[in-house]
Structures are given as C-alpha cells and as structure tokens.
C-alpha cells in the first residue's frame, strides 16, 4: 500500500470545461466537493462519482476521479452495483430533485432502505433545468412554470421527510451560498457508515432564480434558518434570541426572555434519536412558517448492506470451503454410461 498523498483542489479538477449557466449554484457545490475530497482520507483512484440525468448530473465529468454519468433516475442502482462489487470505494451519488425524487424516486428510497455506504448529494432547485423549466416534485404549489401556466397543483415532497420516512440513517441539509458549511456537511456525510443523504438548497439562476433566497441570503438567513447542533438547544435569529419548542408534535417559535422563556425551555437537538420521529418532525419545518433546519437532522448507526453481503460470502467460504465447479458438477445423482 502506497502512502496517502496530500491533495489540493486541482487534483480533483478534470480537464473538461464546466458547462453550467453563469451564476448557477452548481459551481459553488463543485468547488466545495473538490475541497472536501482533499480531506476525506481517500485516494482519488478509490473515489467514484455517479450521477443520473439533469444539470447537476454533469458533475462527474468535472471531477478527476472515476465517474459514471448514467441514465435518468437510475444512479442509485448503478452506484449500488459499484459499491457491492467493491466496498472499499468511496462512492458519491449526484442527483437533483427531478432525477432523484421523480423518475428515480423508487431507486432513491430503496438505496436509503438498504443503507449502502454511499454519499448522496441532492441538488434541490425545485425545478427542471435541463429540460428548460417544468415543475418538479419539490416545486411549491401555485408556482407558474412552463408546464403549469396556471400554477402548480402538485403537492411537493420535502426530500427530508421522504428520506427519513424511508428509514434513513443520515440526513443533512446545506446551502449553495455557504462553502464552509457545505464542506463540513460533506465531510460528515463521508464519515457516516451507511447511506448519507445531503440536500443542498441550490439556485437555478435561469428558471427558478432566488427560490431559496430567504434561507440562503446572508442577510435574511439568520431569521429563516436554524443551524442544528447535536445536544444543543435550538436557537436562531439575527439576535440569537429565538428558539424552538414543541407543542406535542408541532414545532413553535418562541422568543427567549419573553413569557418567561429561557434557553432551558427550548427543544434540544438529538441527531441520534433512534426511531426517526424527532428527525421527521424537523423535516416538516419549512419556510415561510418556520426556520429551515440546516446541518445534520439525523445520524444513527445501522447495518450496512454491502458489509452484510461480503460477510455472507466470507461465512459461506469458511463453512463450505472455496467453491469448486468440479465438485458441483459431480454433486447429486450421477451415472456412468458405458
């Protein structure tokens, strides 16, 4: 084994021209991922990026690692094959709200259910970009798009609710305007053993500009988002004086110092809560009624699929010995014709 090289961002930059629209949020995500790759402790030949179809799915072409640009929605299945075949690889799946939640929704929930040790980054811009502006499964009700000239009537998914509902072991959310936060979240995702699902609120400058602006804009972000920290009370706001309490299953905003509320009355984030109920409640918090949770919503340990696959193989080998076709051919009833 050769030693772990020290990488710079350019080591993960391929020789291909990046072809996203000027101003697209994808550029910042790409840069943050390339920087995160220098820190995950994996050699570049052991890293594979897999994507589906859509603007975000061009991503693997720009990474100087192994990569697969697959077909629409199917990246989770392709990535599963990669990971089962070689569990030592660091596998990253790049998808979007259309690719991962609409045409590929089935594969997404089954990837999460099986808990393969794959890192998913879902670029959520709440619109179809590559096909030029149709509504997606995360587009808000009422939004006018090319295919909803009278406003969208589809009830959208919260990606977090869907993924946590599918028995996810790791879910985090970050924003395309904060490279530092993105890198931190990608690193945590890579450290988690199991399917790590990261939603990035990403801006489509052409078809859905500023859709996440209240959350991602430096000026309005403090009042419209909440940074989750494990074991810490849920505090947010420009003045750091607002907090979250739960009335049964319903989150409510309170102000510290008003009506006798102190820090001790606030809900405390527990990303390790086993059942998923806590994380699910957080997943329902959305703009404009509630601050949008950023950071790790859920992180729990569970059996990892590909490890179990190889464990069964190893067990069978120690129990029955290495397989022999010669023996198999002669097993059961045989007879000789003279």
């Amino acid at each position: 084994m050769s030693e772990m090289p020290t990488y710079k961002k350019k080591d993960f930059t391929s020789d291909q021209d990046v072809r996203w629209c000027p101003g697209c949020g994808d550029y910042a995500i790409l840069a943050s991922v390339q920087l995160a790759m220098t820190k995950i402790g994996k050699k570049k030949e052991d890293i594979v990026f897999v994507s589906g179809i859509g603007c975000s799915s061009r991503f693997p072409y720009y990474m100087d690692t192994y990569g697969l640009h697959t077909i629409h929605g199917r990246a989770p299945a392709v990535a599963s094959g990669v990971k089962v075949q070689n569990p030592d690889l660091s596998v990253w799946l790049i998808t979007g709200d259309g690719d991962g939640l609409s045409i590929g929704g089935n594969h997404t929930i089954h990837l999460v259910r099986r808990n393969l040790d794959i890192n998913v980054i879902l670029f959520n811009n709440e619109i179809y970009g590559l096909t030029k502006g149709q509504y997606s499964p995360t587009t808000r009700v009422g939004m006018k798009t090319k295919s909803t000239p009278y406003g969208s009537i589809d009830r959208p998914f919260h990606p977090a609710s869907l993924v946590i509902g599918a028995n996810s072991t790791f879910f985090a959310r970050t924003i395309d305007t904060d490279p530092k936060h993105m890198q931190e979240v990608f690193l945590k995702a890579s450290q988690h053993k199991g399917t790590s699902f990261v939603e990035v609120l990403q801006n489509c400058v052409i078809f859905n500009d500023k859709t996440h602006d209240p959350v991602t804009n430096r000026a309005t972000r403090p009042d419209n988002s909440i940074n989750l920290e494990h074991g810490k009370p849920m505090i947010f706001g420009k003045e750091n004086n607002k907090g979250i309490v739960f009335d049964g299953f319903t989150p409510k905003i309170v102000t510290i110092g008003e009506n006798g509320i102190t820090e001790k009355d606030l809900a405390v984030h527990n990303e390790n809560e086993p059942s998923g109920v806590w994380s699910y409640m957080l997943s329902t918090m959305s703009y404009p009624d509630m601050p949008v949770p950023l950071g790790v919503l859920r992180c729990v340990d569970a059996a990892v699929y590909e490890s179990a696959v190889h464990e069964q193989i190893d067990n069978a080998k120690s129990k029955f010995g290495e397989g022999s076709m010669e023996k198999l051919l002669h097993s059961g009833d045989t007879w000789t014709i003279k």
């Binding site: 050769s2 391929s14 291909q16 050699k43 570049k44 030949e45 052991d46 890293i47 594979v48 990026f49 897999v50 693997p60 072409y61 100087d64 690692t65 192994y66 990569g67 697969l68 640009h69 697959t70 077909i71 199917r74 989770p76 299945a77 392709v78 990535a79 599963s80 094959g81 990669v82 990971k83 089962v84 075949q85 070689n86 030592d88 690889l89 089935n106 594969h107 089954h110 696959v309 069964q312 193989i313 067990n315 069978a316 080998k317 129990k319 029955f320 010995g321 397989g323 076709m325 010669e326 198999l328 051919l329 002669h330 059961g332 009833d333 045989t334 007879w335 000789t336 014709i337 003279k338």
Partner: protein, 614 residues
C-alpha cells in the same frame, strides 16, 4: 393372471392433477429413476401461472411430462402414451393431447359430482363413450392410499397427500422401474420425520403392487437402456445449467460474478440458483425493479465484475434504455432473456420465441449488441459461458436467449471437461501505464475494436463514462457531427467483427439439397428429430440450428444459398425468417405457431413434407 411384458423404444407419460397434488415431484422422480436406469430422458413441466388456482378447476391443473426411451430423446415427446389424471379437470385439460389408444389412469375417488361441475363436465366422463379410443384404468388412488396407511399414526389429510406416490408406484410397475431411487429420495427428503418416510414408501409400494395385481393392466412395457455416448452423466435443467455456466465463466476470467435481478417467471430460478453459491464469491442483488437489476449490473461491470442480469420479456422491455447505456459505455454485460409467451404479460408460464426482435432492436438509436441463443437444457451451460466470453473479450453487452421450455426442461447432461472452459482473456488494463501518460478509455484493439477496461482502484486510470456521445479515443463528451457518425460506425463494426470469433454454422445433413430447415433456440429437439426422420426416408433435407444470431456465422449465407428452399419454423410470427430475409434476401418461408406450446415432431415432419412436395 400373469402379465406380459412388451418392449417399446420410447414412452411419454404425463402426470396431471391439481397444482397441490405434487405432480411436478412425481414426474421428477420418474425421470430420475429412468435416467439412472440408463434411459435417455427429456421432461417438461406445465404449471399454471396461479400458485394455487381453485382446486379441481382446469385453471388449477398442473402437469409434468416425461419422455424416456432406448433411443436418442430430444424432446419431451409429442403425444403422451399415458395420462395420469388425478381429477376430472386434469382429464379434461389433457385428454385431447393423448395418443389414440393411449392409457388413462384415472383417480376415480376424485371423480365426484362437485369435481365434474368444476371441470365443466355434464356427467362422469368415465361412464360415457368419449374415452372409447383410450384404455382407461380406474383406480381408487386416494382411498387405497389412505387404506394402505391405516396403521400409521397420521391424520387423514396427511395420508391423502401420499397419493402421488401411489400413482407413481403404478407407473413404476407398468414400465419396470426400480423403486430404490425413489425410496432413497423419500428417506433423505423427510429425514427426521419417520412417519412420513414410512407413509410415502408404503404408498409407493402399494401403487406398484396394485398395478401388478389388477387385471385392468393388460400388458406392461419394458424400456431397455438407451444407446448414449459413454461418459459420466447427471440431470440438469436449463436455468440451473445457465447459472452454472456463468459461475464457470467468472472462474475462467478471474472476475467475480455479479447478478442484479428482479423476480420474474420463468427466469427467477437463475437468481435462486446463483444465490446459493456464495462460497464461489457470487454476489446476487435482488433489486427493487427490473431497471435497477440491470443498472446495478452495469455499476458492477464498471467496477470489474462479470456482470449479469436475468429476466423475461416484460423485464427486457424495461431494461432497454440501460442496455443501450451499457452498449454506449462499451462495458461487458450479459442479459439473459428466458422468453415466455408475450406480448405484455402474455402467457407467463408458457413458452414462445417472440423476443428475437426486441433482443436485436429493442433500444433507441443505433445500438447493436451481440445476440446468442441456447438450443436445449444441457446447452445452457455452454452458451452462458459463451455469452460471458464474448462480452468480456469484445467489451459489449450480450443478450442470451433461452425460453421457458428449455429453462424448465430437464435432460441428462454429459458432465463437461472443465479444461474446455478454463480461459477467458479480458480486456483489463495491466496497470503499468507511465504516470504522465493519460489513459484513453476509447482506444481500440486493432483486431476486435474492443476498448480497454480500467476499473476503480487503479491509480492513474481515473476516467468518466457517460451516455452522451463521446469523442473517439478520449471518451470526452462530443457533439461533433462527423465524430458521432464515426462512433456509430465503430460500434456497429465492433459487433460485426465478432463473426471472426464464433464457430462456423454447423449443418446436420448435406451442405446442399432441396430443403434447409433453419431453427434457433428451444425448437432444436423437435426439428432435429423431424429432419432425421425425413433423411431416413432419403429426402434431401438438412438442418442448420442457429446459436449465434447477431452477428450470424460467416458461412451461413453460402449455406442458405445452396438449398432450393429454406424454411424457418419458429414459435412466433416469423421474426427469424424476416431477419434472415432482410440480411440475405433469401426468400425463406416461415412455419409459425404462437400457442404457448412447443413444436411436435410429427407436426414438423408434415410441414416439411408439404414444402418438399410443392
């Protein structure tokens, strides 16, 4: 009264009853015993799509046909000589197939008014004249089984369940079968359940003794051992042989076998079979759907596996886009299509050859891939190995066509010499490229046009593959018009050049004559027997059975042109005929059947004779 023993060269028995009556097991036992006694054997199960259709109805009838004999056996037989009918529905569903003069063994205990109604008989068919052309043996199979087991401490229902062994015992006497194989099997199967071992053994012997005793069986038949090529033999069905062929190909190529699959009739048994062999390092992934099955295999192929997906018609339709992607990636991938009756959901448990068109053309754009087909159950090992060899050596997807008939059919198989299946040369790069030299994934082998295969984990070979058109050599995304045309031509020529790497077309009979019969897939047995029969009569008929379909063998065109007429019998509406006519402008005529049933030998003899006379 002493029974007389009559010698015949082959006999076809069909066991038929409710799907819960254990007819598959009974048939399997009969064929195992016969093979061990040195007969050549072929079998075919015929079961309903419903797991347990209502008992007593025609929809619930399950059958198993065995053809065994002293001569070469190539099909499960045209017409049964003996029909075991465990109830009226089984009689009704099968009597039309029975040879005139054939024997019916009817379990009269199930011939009740209620069952007549369920089988849509107006009265007891055994009392009318409709069975006058047959020899009917009325046997109280259920009651006598229960009676024979009266001293065994089992409930009545469990005793009744032993009735299939009673029926089996009767046929064992009729055809002078030895009881030992089945008695040993019962002992292993019910190990630890002594009462069941005793009960089933007694039922078997009681049936045997009953047949010996009753005067209703006028003559017993004796079948001598067949003249078969010397060697060590075992039984194999098509799906098992297919699974084993892939395991051997993985061994021969030094690659790990990965199967991504989704359950579907009649292909699931390959998934079941491969799931057993974890100690061979086989990875099986039961995916969430057909598309995920093939896509996971593509991911595994990129990562260095011998990657495989298995399905049947409806699943192949779903996999089309992904197969096109594998073709674009130029990765090795084997797709097994165990064909069934189509279109749509069609006839899931019946056989057909109607997926040739989708195998050849079922993808968007210009997307040629290799297509090959197995000819009989014991050919599946070889063809699965061949599919893997071609995929790995030529870096392309390969579709292997089998069908429900050969997948479920069982026949003796001369155990192959594994030295003949020991070396597949993959296109895996050696990993010794100088660090400063860039890896170009789309450079090509001069002879085959196959591209190199570098896999994750190899330093310095990092590269990206995509479904977008790629620049020659570099593999970078390219929208250049001339490059696209070049790449389409290369991908086409790559598959065409596989013709240099497959055997020439073999022909049974002379290489010229009046009529060339061209077949492919599971119709081999019937066509072979029919052609043999006509040749014995001195007719100038030959058989070319195609196993390599795209590309076709290089000598096929000249072979076809050396015959006055060409006929292509197939279980579809003329897909191979059209393909040959389109390729060679050869005026081949078709003989087609889409009934979910295989060809009969006599049927083909009639058709070929008619064509010769025209």
């Amino acid at each position: 009264m002493a029974t007389t023993t009559k010698e015949v060269d082959h006999v076809v028995i069909r066991f038929s009853g409710d799907s819960g009556d254990g007819m598959q097991l009974t048939g399997t036992q009969f064929s195992s015993t016969s093979a061990l006694m040195g007969n050549d054997v072929a079998t075919f199960p015929d079961f309903p799509a419903e797991i347990r259709a209502p008992a007593g109805t025609i929809a619930g009838v399950s059958g198993f046909q065995v053809n065994f004999g002293t001569t070469e056996i190539n099909t499960p037989g045209d017409e049964p000589d003996v029909l075991v009918a465990m109830n009226p529905a089984a009689l009704k569903a099968n009597v039309k197939d029975l040879r005139k003069g054939g024997v019916i063994i009817a379990n009269v205990d199930a011939f009740t008014d209620l069952n007549f109604k369920k089988a849509k008989y107006e009265g007891n068919p055994l009392d009318t004249h409709e069975l006058d052309n047959f020899q009917v043996i009325k046997a109280h199979i259920t009651n006598q089984t229960v009676e024979a087991l009266k001293d065994i401490d089992l409930d009545n229902k469990s005793k009744e369940r032993c009735k299939n062994f009673y029926a089996l015992g009767m046929t064992y006497f009729m055809y002078s079968r030895e009881l030992d194989t089945t008695i040993n099997w019962i002992a292993t199967k019910f190990k630890g359940k002594d009462k069941l071992i005793e009960a089933n053994t007694i039922a078997l012997k009681s049936g045997y003794h009953f047949a010996e005793t009753i005067e209703a069986i006028p003559s017993a038949y004796k079948i001598q051992p067949a003249k078969i090529e010397p060697g060590l033999y075992r039984h194999i069905n098509g799906n098992t042989a297919t699974a084993w062929g892939f395991i051997q190909a993985a061994e021969a190529s030094g690659r790990k076998l990965f199967l991504g699959s989704y359950p579907i009739t009649p292909a699931s048994d390959i998934l079941h079979e491969l799931s057993k062999y974890k100690n061979f390092g086989v990875r099986t992934f039961q995916a969430e759907d057909e598309i995920a099955g093939v896509c996971s295999a593509i991911g595994a192929a990129f990562t260095g596996a011998l990657a495989l997906t298995t399905s049947s018609g409806p699943g192949i339709a779903l996999k089309g886009e992904a197969i096109g992607l594998a073709m674009m990636y130029e990765l090795p991938l084997v797709i097994v299509d165990v064909q069934r009756g189509g279109p749509s959901t069609g006839l899931p448990t019946k056989t057909e050859q109607s997926d040739l068109n989708i195998a050849l053309n079922g993808r968007n754009g210009e997307s040629p891939i290799i297509v090959i087909a197995a000819s009989r159950p014991n050919d599946c090992f070889h063809m699965a190995y061949e599919a893997s060899r071609l995929a790995l050596e030529h870096m392309t997807p390969v579709i292997l066509l089998t069908d429900g008939y050969i997948a479920n059919g069982t026949e003796p198989w001369k155990i192959p010499d594994l030295k003949e299946y020991s070396k597949i040369e993959t296109k895996l790069v050696d990993g010794k490229k100088p660090a400063e030299e860039k890896y170009l994934p789309y450079t090509r082998d001069e002879k085959t046009l196959a591209r190199p295969w570098a896999i994750p984990g190899m330093p310095g070979y990092e590269h990206r593959l995509g479904g977008l058109e790629k620049q020659e050599n570099t593999g970078n995304v390219s929208y250049d018009p001339m490059n696209h045309e070049t790449m389409c031509r290369i991908r086409k020529e790559k598959v065409e050049r596989v013709a240099n790497d497959i055997p020439e077309q073999e022909v049974e009979g002379e290489t010229s004559g009046d009529l060339l019969v061209v077949t492919w897939g599971g119709t081999y047995g019937a066509a072979h027997m029919a052609v043999q029969e006509l040749r014995k009569e001195g007719k100038k008929v030959s058989l070319a059975h195609l196993k390599y379909i795209n590309p076709l063998p290089k000598n096929l065109e000249s072979l076809i042109s050396s015959f006055k007429k060409v006929i292509v019998p197939e279980l579809n509406q003329g897909q191979m005929k059209n393909y040959l006519n389109q390729t060679f402008q050869c005026n081949a005529i078709g003989y087609n059947k889409v009934q979910g049933l295989p060809f009969k030998i006599r049927e083909l003899v009639g058709v070929f004779n008619k064509v010769l006379e025209q």
